[in-house]
């Protein structure tokens, strides 16, 4: 399942947003890769840049105010950042599909479910309308929707949140993309439905060989489904490794703090939860040095003065940590 071939290779990606006349870098020098069939987690708190990373990959950063400042995004060896908009349209859907957090607003309320799926099939796959309807029914079966023959004539308001997210997955997978980007796919859903949807994504990834970038703030989800994990903080990638490396041998104090601050069903509730002091810095006001310095348990004098440098280094095979914070835990 896990081959070394890099299907997607992101190098030094930088994306900025213009806020009140000033460029604020919200994705800062991010590099990671994805092999076929792999589920890679992207974890971090709100505002850390994980969704903007996803939008950058898809070429969907709203410009203005957003702008990709630099870096490379290689999909099977070709740099997507050099593609024209019409070339990107072919990549979206066909090579990379995406599902979003909010299944309530991502479907068009005035079109039937069937229409929303067949539209894509007719456009991207050159199917006749009859073929497209049959394929749509097959896709709905694939994502586990009951009575797909009847459902394709329903409008989105008739469906529950979980059912809508299944439809979104069916649409994202309709052109058999090599990569599925799932941006907080279950945050708006109940835990029982969350389990249904994530099991479905994992099953489809295994069966179809689709690679998945799973964006979430929930570490439990990654423990269960991810092969590799990238931890983001305030626009920077601060630690990256296999799921076991991140959970059992976290090197960055932020990763360790994040893992400790989750209340868990299997731990004694009478022990006070360890917290990470303070909050994420405002990127528009941040000047220089290590981005974690204000919350670090052990900042050096250099860190406090903003003189320390950031950058990932490899501490064991496949395990990368930001060099400033390797010994800060």
């Amino acid at each position: 399942m896990k081959s070394k071939y890099k299907l997607l290779d992101v190098k030094n990606l930088r994306t900025a947003f213009n806020v009140e006349g000033k460029d604020v870098t919200v994705v800062n020098d991010i590099s990671f890769n994805l092999s076929p069939g792999e589920i890679v987690g992207l974890v971090g708190e709100s505002g850390c840049g994980k969704s903007v990373t996803a939008l950058s990959l898809m070429g969907l950063v709203p410009d203005p105010p957003g702008k990709i400042l630099g870096g490379e995004i290689f999909l099977e060896g070709k740099d997507l950042l050099k593609f024209s908009e019409s070339d990107m349209e072919k990549v979206r859907g066909k090579e990379m599909g995406m599902i979003f957090q909010e299944p309530m607003t991502s479907l068009n309320p005035v079109l039937t479910i069937g229409k929303q799926i067949t539209e894509i099939l007719e456009l991207h796959q050159d199917m006749s309308s009859k073929e497209a309807i049959n394929e749509a029914i097959e896709l709905l079966k694939l994502v586990g929707l009951t009575d797909p023959e009847l459902r394709i004539n329903d409008y989105p308001h008739k469906l529950s949140g979980g059912q809508r997210q299944r439809i979104m997955i069916a649409i994202a997978l309709s052109c058999k993309p090599k990569i599925l980007i799932a941006d907080e796919p279950t945050t708006a859903l109940d835990v029982t439905i969350q389990a249904q949807i994530l099991e479905l994504i994992q099953k489809l990834s295994n069966e179809l060989g689709t690679s998945v970038i799973l964006i979430t703030h929930n570490l439990g989800i990654l423990a269960r489904y991810a092969h590799k994990i990238n931890v983001m903080y305030a626009g920077h990638l601060i630690e990256s490794g296999t799921t076991d490396q991140i959970f059992y041998n976290p090197k960055h104090p932020y990763t360790a703090g994040l893992l400790n601050s989750v209340p868990r069903l299997d731990l004694d509730p009478n022990i006070e939860l360890p917290t990470i002091k303070g909050e994420v810095p405002n990127l528009a006001e941040f000047n220089e040095g290590c981005i974690f310095k204000a919350r670090c348990p052990n900042p050096t004098n250099d860190c406090k003065d903003g003189k320390s440098e950031m950058g990932l280094i490899e501490v064991e095979p496949g395990h990368l940590v930001d060099k400033c914070c390797i010994n800060c835990k």
Binding site: S46, T192, A195, Q196, R224, F247, R264, E272, T275, I276
Partner: protein, 325 residues
């Protein structure tokens, strides 16, 4: 902890009526259908369930934001549903509330000091400035911040402001409706610790409503699991997590991935089938029968009866599903 009962809810029923038009029938949504809860002083009762289970309606009924159809809501042995006017108001100031969304629950045009002082002023208290400063300090905010507006604060800080407002009137009971579900994990832990500290200091009781069982476990002494307007299992927190009896409770606990890859890989797990049925058209008989792993033929015909029975001291399970594993 004392055994003094602060809140006692008996057989509470809250029904909503959808208006219906010329073409459609009037619909009655039984949001809360026969609920019993006791909360002692200084204790936390956790109420969990999926969206649509009726847990927020319970909160709204206690806060008198919706009309209850029948039953009793006793606050220190006085039934709120029987009180009116100034008597009701004076009783109600003993109940505080903290809401889910720290962004929309604070008025953006009011300064923080006015937001926190408002409940005090409503009760006719004057010269509240010193109180506001003390409250800010109690919830871990710099008390020089009191002249700022809500937009100048982060989500976690806003939730602290919401908590300061809730404790301003020295309530006996605080209704916490999903207070941390909009917050990031590192901030969530700070707020949970704060709620725990305040409970110890002020001896307040909490009704803690959440969909996240691990959060509920961290705070609650007793836990009730709600499904379609009814509590289907209730016990102290330790028991319900170590020995869940109702199949729904088991599925709920199992659905939450633990942040430990080795435990997760060992877990054998089948997600629950289907969605929660609509409360306007709940299944007849046992409301859980459409998703039950082992419904009897009586259950399928809608003939089974529901009702909590005590299977061990203080562990209540719905009788229909005691053996449904």
């Amino acid at each position: 902890m004392s055994n003094k009962k602060i809140l006692e809810i008996k057989n509470l029923k809250v029904f909503y009526e959808s208006s219906g038009s010329f073409f459609t029938r009037k619909n009655i949504v039984k949001a809360v259908n026969g609920l019993n809860i006791d909360i002692n002083q200084g204790e936390t009762f956790g109420l969990v369930g999926e969206s649509g289970s009726g847990k927020s309606t319970v909160a709204r009924a206690i806060l008198n934001l919706v009309k209850s159809n029948s039953g009793e809501i006793n606050l220190e042995e006085e039934n709120l549903l029987k009180l009116k006017g100034s008597k009701l108001r004076s009783k109600q100031k003993q109940i505080g509330a903290i809401f889910q969304d720290p962004y929309s629950s604070l008025n953006p045009r009011m300064k923080i000091k006015d937001i926190i002082a408002e409940p005090l002023r409503v009760q006719g208290k004057k010269n509240v400035e010193e109180d506001v400063k003390n409250l800010l300090k109690m919830v871990g905010l710099d008390n020089r911040m009191d002249n700022r507006f809500p937009h100048e604060f982060s989500g976690g800080q806003r939730q602290r402001i919401g908590i300061a407002r809730a404790i301003s009137t020295n309530p006996k009971l605080i209704i916490c409706d999903e207070p941390v579900s909009a917050l990031d994990v590192s901030v969530q832990a700070q707020i949970l610790n704060l709620l725990k500290d305040l409970q110890k200091k002020l001896n307040i009781s909490y009704l803690f409503i959440a969909h996240d069982l691990s959060v509920v476990k961290y705070l609650s002494l007793k836990v009730g699991v709600m499904y379609l307007g009814k509590i289907i299992e209730m016990a102290n927190s330790e028991t319900i997590f170590s020995n869940p009896m109702h199949p729904y409770t088991k599925i709920l606990i199992n659905s939450i991935p633990v942040p430990d890859p080795k435990i997760e890989r060992k877990k054998k797990f089948v997600p629950i089938k289907g969605d929660i049925p609509s409360a306007s058209n709940p299944p007849s008989g046992c409301v859980f029968r459409t998703r039950c792993p082992n419904p009897t033929s009586d259950c399928k015909d809608g003939k089974s009866e529901m009702g909590l029975i005590e299977i061990e001291p203080d562990h209540w399970v719905d009788k229909c599903c005691v053996n449904c594993k």
